[in-house]
């Protein structure tokens, strides 16, 4: 899933400094699962913003609304009516950055701000801890590495083993992270695939990554 983190309150207050009527929009997708932008986090954030602004002598009206998903135009249209009737000057979107962009493209007359930093594609390690697992290179080859991704999980994206900064099975760039090459080596050894690891890998084709320009997937069988 997409992992996101809420921006610091101070940064959000700065963004909202010229606004008194704001709609804070949450999302029930990934950001609910990673506790960044679901209904619960939206309620907490709205309360914090209201209290701070009141204390500063510039009260702000914030309404809350959480959409099923902000990465789906159909759900974005649910914002039409409240925007028409409530006179909001800004929408603060607590989704991954797809959400605020959809809202911005749909509504010409309202400012849109991101409440979250979209951080990575990842998973839960333990309660309250998430880690990155995929850079969405668009050309998955993890079967060549024991099912683990060195493109994402090696800080240098190395395809031929660890750098000298690997120590005690940890990465020098992020000492809390495993050196993925240690895990790849261990696993491929267990699988009897060391010979495969010795092979030289050609320079990666990055054209399916962002390097190939803005990406789009078209499924002919699903298009109308």
């Amino acid at each position: 899933m997409i992992i996101a983190e809420r921006k610091p309150i101070k940064e959000l207050l700065n963004m909202l400094s010229g606004h008194d009527r704001v709609l804070l929009v949450g999302c029930k997708g990934c950001v609910t699962v990673c506790n960044a932008g679901g209904a619960k986090e939206v309620a907490v954030l709205a309360a914090a913003l209201r209290i701070t602004r009141r204390r500063e002598g510039r009260p702000i009206g914030i309404d809350e609304m959480t959409l099923d998903r902000q990465c789906e135009p159909e759900f974005i249209s649910w914002l039409e009516e409240p925007l028409r009737e409530k006179g909001y000057t800004a929408i603060l979107s607590a989704a991954c950055s797809v959400g605020p962009q959809y809202i911005a493209e749909r509504f010409d007359n309202v400012s849109v701000m991101p409440a979250l930093n979209t951080t990575f594609i990842g998973g839960t390690l333990e309660h309250g801890v998430w880690a990155e697992f995929c850079r969405a290179c668009g050309n998955c080859g993890i079967h060549n590495f024991g099912g683990l991704c060195p493109i994402t999980r090696c800080s240098k994206g190395l395809l031929h083993g660890p750098c000298a900064g690997s120590s005690g099975g940890k990465c020098e760039v992020r000492p809390e992270a495993d050196c993925i090459w240690h895990l790849i080596y261990k696993r491929m050894k267990n699988l009897g695939q060391i010979e495969k690891l010795k092979e030289l890998k050609p320079a990666k084709n990055w054209s399916s990554y962002w390097s190939g320009g803005v990406r789009r997937v078209v499924r002919e069988d699903l298009t109308l």
């Binding site: 395809l159 120590s167 020098e172 090459w181 690891l197």
Partner: protein, 313 residues
């Protein structure tokens, strides 16, 4: 002879090679580069010119390499894959060929987190093994990584780094094998402080049939003080100065520790010279270039002064 460089000639002749590392400062002052270079001249066979070492901006490796060539010295141009994609790397190789640079040293480079621009975007389009392979293809058959080819390039004598002290050692040998198969002519190791562990790695490399295919140069790092030794252990992963060496440095008063460090380094060189499979040493002085002549003398290595033209770096 493939590349025809001085370093290649020395290694092929079976002589013990001496290289040293030069970290270019961030400067446009040619005079400064020339003054620092004088510590190398006549003492080493070739000089590694670092490429933004430690992810800190320094004057371009190709440009400083050209200054060394003008001074009658032989450069080993370093190229890291951190800052340039395959287009820029190959372009720099063609430029190096044009300038008469014949030795190239390929690494991935330190992560920018540890340098003076930690907010920079890195590249890592290809890794060091793929860069070695790219230089090889360009050098041997004028083949670029894309569709096109090019004429009159190199040839290059290609170097790569190896870590004999990483864990597990089998993985370190596997990685060395990849670099050799990719086309590395010579290897410069991580700094050696543990001769036993290094010797074990060389033996394993020999068993894998790797040391016949490329020349191994052991890196030595002269220590200025016990404090510096401890700082290296704290700061640099993958390099560990042994307790014995630190104790030896601490055993003399601080003003004399640098002298003791030189002595230790010279002893290490002598031991490495006798180690089967080691074809030379690489001096990593970390900006302490002025110590090179003394270390060469102390270790009993031949100087490479003028009269023997083929050996003046």
């Amino acid at each position: 002879m493939k590349a025809g460089s001085n370093l290649e000639r020395i290694l092929r002749s079976g002589e013990f090679a001496v290289t040293a590392e030069f970290i270019p400062p961030a400067t446009g002052d040619r005079g400064l580069i020339e003054r620092q270079a004088r510590y190398f001249k006549g003492y080493v066979d070739a000089v590694n010119v670092a490429d933004n070492m430690g992810a800190m901006v320094g004057t371009a490796s190709w440009a400083v390499s050209k200054v060394l060539l003008d001074l009658g010295m032989e450069p080993i141009m370093s190229l890291v894959t951190r800052d340039r994609n395959r287009i820029a790397l190959q372009s720099d190789l063609l430029g190096a060929s044009l300038l008469g640079i014949r030795n190239v040293f390929c690494t991935t480079g330190d992560h920018q987190k540890f340098g003076d621009h930690p907010e920079a975007l890195n590249v890592y389009d290809i890794d060091s093994v793929q860069l070695v392979n790219a230089v090889r293809g360009l050098s041997d058959s004028g083949r670029l990584l894309g569709e096109a080819g090019c004429d009159n390039i190199g040839p290059f004598f290609v170097g790569a780094a190896a870590d004999p002290f990483g864990d597990p050692v089998d993985l370190m040998i596997l990685r060395l094998g990849q670099k050799v198969r990719a086309g590395a002519d010579f290897i410069q190791s991580q700094p050696v402080f543990d001769l036993e562990k290094f010797g074990h790695w060389v033996r394993l490399a020999r068993e894998e049939g790797l040391i016949e295919k490329c020349s191994i140069l052991a890196t030595v790092l002269p220590l200025r003080s016990a404090r510096e030794a401890r700082a290296i252990n704290e700061r640099r992963r993958g390099v560990e100065v042994s307790k014995e060496i630190i104790a030896r440095l601490e055993g003399v008063p601080e003003p004399e520790q640098a002298q003791e460090g030189i002595k230790i380094c010279a002893e290490q060189i002598q031991a490495l010279k006798d180690m089967e499979g080691v074809r030379g040493i690489h001096l990593m002085t970390q900006g302490w270039e002025e110590v090179i002549p003394e270390i060469i003398r102390e270790a009993g290595l031949k100087t490479r002064h003028k009269k023997d033209k083929t050996r003046s770096a």
